[in-house]
Symmetry: C2
Subunit: 129 residues, 2 copies
Amino acid sequence: MRIGEAAAASGMSTKTLRFYEDRGLLPAARRAPNGYRDYGDETVTRLDFIHRGRNAGLTLAQIGDILRVRDAGQAPCIHVRDLLARQLRGIDRQISELVALRATIAQYHDTVAAADPVDCDPESVCSYL
Amino acid sequence: MRIGEAAAASGMSTKTLRFYEDRGLLPAARRAPNGYRDYGDETVTRLDFIHRGRNAGLTLAQIGDILRVRDAGQAPCIHVRDLLARQLRGIDRQISELVALRATIAQYHDTVAAADPVDCDPESVCSYL
DNA sequence: CTGAACCTTCACCTATAGTGGAATGTCAAG
DNA sequence: CTTGACATTCCACTATAGGTGAAGGTTCAG
Protein backbone atom coordinates (compact mmCIF):
# COMPACT_ATOMS: atom_id res chain seq x y z
CA MET A 1 0.00 0.00 0.00
CA ARG A 2 1.40 3.42 -0.92
CA ILE A 3 1.39 6.39 1.40
CA GLY A 4 -1.62 8.00 -0.24
CA GLU A 5 -3.75 4.93 0.27
CA ALA A 6 -2.66 4.50 3.88
CA ALA A 7 -3.41 8.17 4.46
CA ALA A 8 -6.85 7.87 2.91
CA ALA A 9 -7.60 4.68 4.86
CA SER A 10 -6.75 6.36 8.14
CA GLY A 11 -8.17 9.77 7.37
CA MET A 12 -4.85 11.55 7.60
CA SER A 13 -2.66 13.39 5.13
CA THR A 14 0.49 11.94 3.60
CA LYS A 15 2.35 14.77 5.29
CA THR A 16 1.10 13.56 8.64
CA LEU A 17 2.25 10.00 7.99
CA ARG A 18 5.78 11.13 7.12
CA PHE A 19 5.69 13.35 10.17
CA TYR A 20 4.72 10.39 12.38
CA GLU A 21 7.53 8.35 10.90
CA ASP A 22 9.91 11.18 11.73
CA ARG A 23 8.63 11.22 15.30
CA GLY A 24 9.07 7.49 15.66
CA LEU A 25 5.38 6.63 15.81
CA LEU A 26 5.66 4.73 12.58
CA PRO A 27 8.68 2.54 11.89
CA ALA A 28 10.76 3.42 8.85
CA ALA A 29 8.63 2.03 6.07
CA ARG A 30 9.65 -0.74 3.74
CA ARG A 31 10.41 0.73 0.33
CA ALA A 32 9.34 -0.35 -3.11
CA PRO A 33 12.14 -0.55 -5.71
CA ASN A 34 11.26 2.96 -6.84
CA GLY A 35 11.81 4.35 -3.36
CA TYR A 36 8.14 4.76 -2.53
CA ARG A 37 7.04 3.76 0.96
CA ASP A 38 5.21 0.45 0.99
CA TYR A 39 2.88 -0.11 3.92
CA GLY A 40 1.10 -3.24 5.11
CA ASP A 41 -2.38 -3.37 6.61
CA GLU A 42 -0.96 -3.28 10.13
CA THR A 43 0.05 0.31 9.47
CA VAL A 44 -3.58 1.33 9.16
CA THR A 45 -4.32 -0.46 12.44
CA ARG A 46 -1.43 1.41 13.98
CA LEU A 47 -2.66 4.71 12.63
CA ASP A 48 -6.06 3.99 14.10
CA PHE A 49 -4.45 3.39 17.45
CA ILE A 50 -2.66 6.71 17.16
CA HIS A 51 -5.93 8.34 16.22
CA ARG A 52 -7.70 6.91 19.23
CA GLY A 53 -4.89 7.99 21.47
CA ARG A 54 -5.09 11.53 20.13
CA ASN A 55 -8.84 11.59 20.62
CA ALA A 56 -8.34 10.46 24.18
CA GLY A 57 -6.05 13.40 24.75
CA LEU A 58 -2.71 11.59 24.74
CA THR A 59 0.24 13.41 23.25
CA LEU A 60 2.20 11.96 20.36
CA ALA A 61 5.07 11.42 22.77
CA GLN A 62 2.91 9.30 25.08
CA ILE A 63 1.51 7.31 22.19
CA GLY A 64 5.02 6.81 20.89
CA ASP A 65 6.16 5.44 24.24
CA ILE A 66 3.34 2.92 24.27
CA LEU A 67 3.91 1.84 20.70
CA ARG A 68 7.62 1.42 21.17
CA VAL A 69 7.00 -0.75 24.23
CA ARG A 70 4.48 -2.81 22.33
CA ASP A 71 6.90 -3.16 19.42
CA ALA A 72 9.53 -4.50 21.77
CA GLY A 73 7.15 -7.38 22.51
CA GLN A 74 9.67 -9.96 23.53
CA ALA A 75 12.26 -9.65 26.28
CA PRO A 76 10.46 -6.95 28.24
CA CYS A 77 12.54 -5.60 31.06
CA ILE A 78 11.28 -4.37 34.37
CA HIS A 79 11.43 -0.77 33.21
CA VAL A 80 9.03 -1.45 30.40
CA ARG A 81 6.57 -2.97 32.81
CA ASP A 82 6.90 0.07 35.06
CA LEU A 83 6.38 2.46 32.19
CA LEU A 84 3.15 0.70 31.30
CA ALA A 85 2.06 0.70 34.92
CA ARG A 86 2.70 4.44 35.07
CA GLN A 87 0.73 4.98 31.89
CA LEU A 88 -2.14 3.01 33.40
CA ARG A 89 -2.10 5.04 36.58
CA GLY A 90 -2.03 8.25 34.56
CA ILE A 91 -4.97 7.14 32.45
CA ASP A 92 -6.89 6.00 35.51
CA ARG A 93 -6.36 9.38 37.09
CA GLN A 94 -7.47 11.11 33.93
CA ILE A 95 -10.57 8.95 33.71
CA SER A 96 -11.59 9.62 37.28
CA GLU A 97 -11.05 13.36 36.82
CA LEU A 98 -13.28 13.24 33.79
CA VAL A 99 -15.94 11.20 35.54
CA ALA A 100 -16.02 13.64 38.44
CA LEU A 101 -16.20 16.54 36.05
CA ARG A 102 -18.95 14.84 34.13
CA ALA A 103 -21.02 14.51 37.29
CA THR A 104 -20.61 18.21 38.01
CA ILE A 105 -21.61 19.20 34.52
CA ALA A 106 -24.50 16.74 34.47
CA GLN A 107 -25.80 18.44 37.57
CA TYR A 108 -25.70 21.86 35.93
CA HIS A 109 -27.41 20.36 32.93
CA ASP A 110 -30.20 18.76 34.94
CA THR A 111 -30.83 21.99 36.80
CA VAL A 112 -31.07 23.86 33.55
CA ALA A 113 -33.20 21.20 31.87
CA ALA A 114 -35.61 21.08 34.82
CA ALA A 115 -36.34 24.79 34.55
CA ASP A 116 -38.72 25.73 31.80
CA PRO A 117 -36.21 26.51 29.09
CA VAL A 118 -36.87 29.94 27.68
CA ASP A 119 -35.90 30.25 24.07
CA CYS A 120 -33.94 33.44 23.78
CA ASP A 121 -33.86 35.62 20.74
CA PRO A 122 -31.91 33.72 18.10
CA GLU A 123 -30.84 36.99 16.51
CA SER A 124 -29.16 38.40 19.55
CA VAL A 125 -26.06 36.95 21.05
CA CYS A 126 -26.84 34.80 24.04
CA SER A 127 -25.21 36.40 27.01
CA TYR A 128 -24.12 33.06 28.40
CA LEU A 129 -22.41 31.88 25.28
CA MET B 1 -6.92 37.58 49.87
CA ARG B 2 -4.31 39.09 47.60
CA ILE B 3 -3.19 37.56 44.35
CA GLY B 4 -0.01 36.12 45.82
CA GLU B 5 -1.91 34.24 48.51
CA ALA B 6 -4.47 32.93 46.05
CA ALA B 7 -1.66 31.83 43.78
CA ALA B 8 0.13 30.05 46.60
CA ALA B 9 -3.09 28.41 47.79
CA SER B 10 -3.78 27.01 44.35
CA GLY B 11 -0.24 26.21 43.37
CA MET B 12 -0.17 28.63 40.47
CA SER B 13 1.76 31.78 39.71
CA THR B 14 0.32 35.28 39.98
CA LYS B 15 0.97 35.59 36.27
CA THR B 16 -1.27 32.63 35.63
CA LEU B 17 -4.10 34.08 37.68
CA ARG B 18 -4.02 37.34 35.75
CA PHE B 19 -3.85 35.32 32.57
CA TYR B 20 -6.94 33.34 33.58
CA GLU B 21 -8.76 36.57 34.36
CA ASP B 22 -7.83 37.83 30.92
CA ARG B 23 -9.21 34.63 29.38
CA GLY B 24 -12.45 34.91 31.28
CA LEU B 25 -11.88 31.92 33.57
CA LEU B 26 -11.80 34.21 36.56
CA PRO B 27 -14.22 37.11 36.84
CA ALA B 28 -12.69 40.56 37.11
CA ALA B 29 -11.57 40.62 40.71
CA ARG B 30 -12.91 42.94 43.32
CA ARG B 31 -10.28 45.59 44.07
CA ALA B 32 -8.95 46.89 47.36
CA PRO B 33 -8.80 50.69 47.64
CA ASN B 34 -5.17 50.54 46.56
CA GLY B 35 -6.06 48.78 43.33
CA TYR B 36 -4.84 45.35 44.41
CA ARG B 37 -7.02 42.40 43.46
CA ASP B 38 -8.95 41.08 46.46
CA TYR B 39 -10.07 37.49 46.20
CA GLY B 40 -12.49 35.49 48.31
CA ASP B 41 -12.14 31.84 49.20
CA GLU B 42 -14.39 30.84 46.34
CA THR B 43 -11.62 31.87 43.97
CA VAL B 44 -9.39 29.13 45.31
CA THR B 45 -12.23 26.65 44.83
CA ARG B 46 -12.58 27.91 41.31
CA LEU B 47 -8.88 27.60 40.66
CA ASP B 48 -9.03 24.05 41.92
CA PHE B 49 -11.83 23.35 39.50
CA ILE B 50 -9.72 24.76 36.69
CA HIS B 51 -6.82 22.66 37.86
CA ARG B 52 -8.90 19.52 37.86
CA GLY B 53 -10.23 20.32 34.44
CA ARG B 54 -6.70 20.79 33.13
CA ASN B 55 -5.63 17.50 34.68
CA ALA B 56 -8.56 15.80 32.99
CA GLY B 57 -7.32 17.11 29.67
CA LEU B 58 -9.86 19.86 29.12
CA THR B 59 -8.69 23.01 27.41
CA LEU B 60 -8.97 26.40 29.07
CA ALA B 61 -11.65 27.26 26.54
CA GLN B 62 -13.76 24.27 27.56
CA ILE B 63 -13.30 25.01 31.23
CA GLY B 64 -14.21 28.62 30.59
CA ASP B 65 -17.43 27.60 28.84
CA ILE B 66 -18.44 25.44 31.77
CA LEU B 67 -17.62 28.10 34.33
CA ARG B 68 -19.48 30.79 32.46
CA VAL B 69 -22.55 28.61 32.21
CA ARG B 70 -22.32 27.80 35.87
CA ASP B 71 -21.94 31.50 36.67
CA ALA B 72 -25.07 32.27 34.69
CA GLY B 73 -27.06 30.19 37.18
CA GLN B 74 -30.47 31.76 36.82
CA ALA B 75 -32.49 32.24 33.62
CA PRO B 76 -30.81 29.59 31.57
CA CYS B 77 -31.89 29.63 27.97
CA ILE B 78 -32.17 26.71 25.62
CA HIS B 79 -28.73 27.40 24.22
CA VAL B 80 -27.14 26.99 27.59
CA ARG B 81 -28.81 23.62 28.01
CA ASP B 82 -27.60 22.56 24.58
CA LEU B 83 -24.08 23.71 25.31
CA LEU B 84 -24.04 21.60 28.45
CA ALA B 85 -25.45 18.63 26.58
CA ARG B 86 -22.69 19.00 23.98
CA GLN B 87 -20.07 19.22 26.71
CA LEU B 88 -21.44 16.04 28.24
CA ARG B 89 -21.33 14.20 24.95
CA GLY B 90 -17.77 15.38 24.37
CA ILE B 91 -16.69 14.25 27.80
CA ASP B 92 -18.45 10.91 27.37
CA ARG B 93 -16.60 10.37 24.12
CA GLN B 94 -13.31 11.28 25.77
CA ILE B 95 -13.99 8.89 28.64
CA SER B 96 -14.83 6.00 26.36
CA GLU B 97 -11.69 6.60 24.31
CA LEU B 98 -9.68 6.50 27.49
CA VAL B 99 -11.37 3.36 28.73
CA ALA B 100 -10.69 1.58 25.43
CA LEU B 101 -7.09 2.76 25.51
CA ARG B 102 -6.76 1.63 29.07
CA ALA B 103 -7.88 -1.86 28.15
CA THR B 104 -5.33 -2.04 25.35
CA ILE B 105 -2.51 -0.82 27.53
CA ALA B 106 -3.56 -3.09 30.40
CA GLN B 107 -3.26 -6.00 28.02
CA TYR B 108 0.30 -5.04 27.08
CA HIS B 109 1.06 -4.61 30.72
CA ASP B 110 -0.30 -8.02 31.68
CA THR B 111 1.67 -9.68 28.93
CA VAL B 112 4.82 -8.01 30.08
CA ALA B 113 4.15 -8.70 33.75
CA ALA B 114 3.45 -12.37 33.03
CA ALA B 115 6.86 -12.82 31.45
CA ASP B 116 9.65 -13.24 33.93
CA PRO B 117 10.81 -9.66 34.10
CA VAL B 118 14.53 -9.49 33.58
CA ASP B 119 16.08 -6.47 35.15
CA CYS B 120 18.25 -4.88 32.55
CA ASP B 121 21.52 -3.13 33.22
CA PRO B 122 20.62 0.06 35.10
CA GLU B 123 23.76 1.74 33.78
CA SER B 124 22.95 1.32 30.13
CA VAL B 125 20.07 2.99 28.40
CA CYS B 126 17.08 0.72 28.13
CA SER B 127 16.47 0.16 24.46
CA TYR B 128 12.72 0.26 24.91
CA LEU B 129 12.62 3.57 26.70
C1' DC C 1 13.78 54.60 52.88
C1' DT C 2 14.19 50.15 51.02
C1' DG C 3 12.57 45.90 49.29
C1' DA C 4 8.85 42.81 48.44
C1' DA C 5 4.60 42.50 46.40
C1' DC C 6 1.43 44.62 43.55
C1' DC C 7 -0.18 47.16 39.03
C1' DT C 8 -0.38 47.37 33.50
C1' DT C 9 1.10 46.40 28.86
C1' DC C 10 3.42 44.17 25.38
C1' DA C 11 6.39 41.05 23.70
C1' DC C 12 8.20 36.86 23.73
C1' DC C 13 8.64 31.84 24.65
C1' DT C 14 8.04 26.59 24.53
C1' DA C 15 5.68 22.74 23.15
C1' DT C 16 2.59 20.31 20.19
C1' DA C 17 1.09 19.01 15.92
C1' DG C 18 1.27 19.63 11.98
C1' DT C 19 1.30 22.24 6.79
C1' DG C 20 3.36 24.55 2.61
C1' DG C 21 6.44 24.85 -0.93
C1' DA C 22 10.40 24.00 -3.81
C1' DA C 23 12.92 20.99 -6.50
C1' DT C 24 12.98 16.52 -8.26
C1' DG C 25 11.77 11.43 -9.45
C1' DT C 26 8.36 7.65 -11.07
C1' DC C 27 4.95 5.78 -13.76
C1' DA C 28 0.45 4.71 -16.25
C1' DA C 29 -2.54 6.41 -19.84
C1' DG C 30 -3.38 8.73 -23.97
C1' DC D 1 6.88 10.86 -25.39
C1' DT D 2 4.52 13.91 -22.80
C1' DT D 3 1.17 14.97 -19.25
C1' DG D 4 -0.71 14.39 -14.75
C1' DA D 5 -1.07 12.12 -10.49
C1' DC D 6 1.54 10.57 -7.02
C1' DA D 7 5.91 10.00 -4.83
C1' DT D 8 10.64 11.71 -2.69
C1' DT D 9 13.51 15.03 0.53
C1' DC D 10 14.30 19.12 3.05
C1' DC D 11 13.45 23.38 5.09
C1' DA D 12 10.50 26.81 6.60
C1' DC D 13 6.49 28.28 8.30
C1' DT D 14 1.90 28.24 10.76
C1' DA D 15 -1.56 27.82 14.43
C1' DT D 16 -2.96 26.94 18.93
C1' DA D 17 -2.38 26.47 23.72
C1' DG D 18 -0.72 27.99 27.80
C1' DG D 19 1.78 30.61 29.68
C1' DT D 20 6.44 33.75 31.10
C1' DG D 21 9.58 37.87 31.05
C1' DA D 22 10.68 42.53 31.10
C1' DA D 23 9.83 47.34 31.47
C1' DG D 24 8.19 50.93 34.07
C1' DG D 25 5.49 52.39 37.75
C1' DT D 26 2.69 52.21 42.66
C1' DT D 27 1.92 50.56 47.49
C1' DC D 28 3.05 49.26 51.85
C1' DA D 29 5.33 46.77 55.93
C1' DG D 30 9.36 46.95 58.65
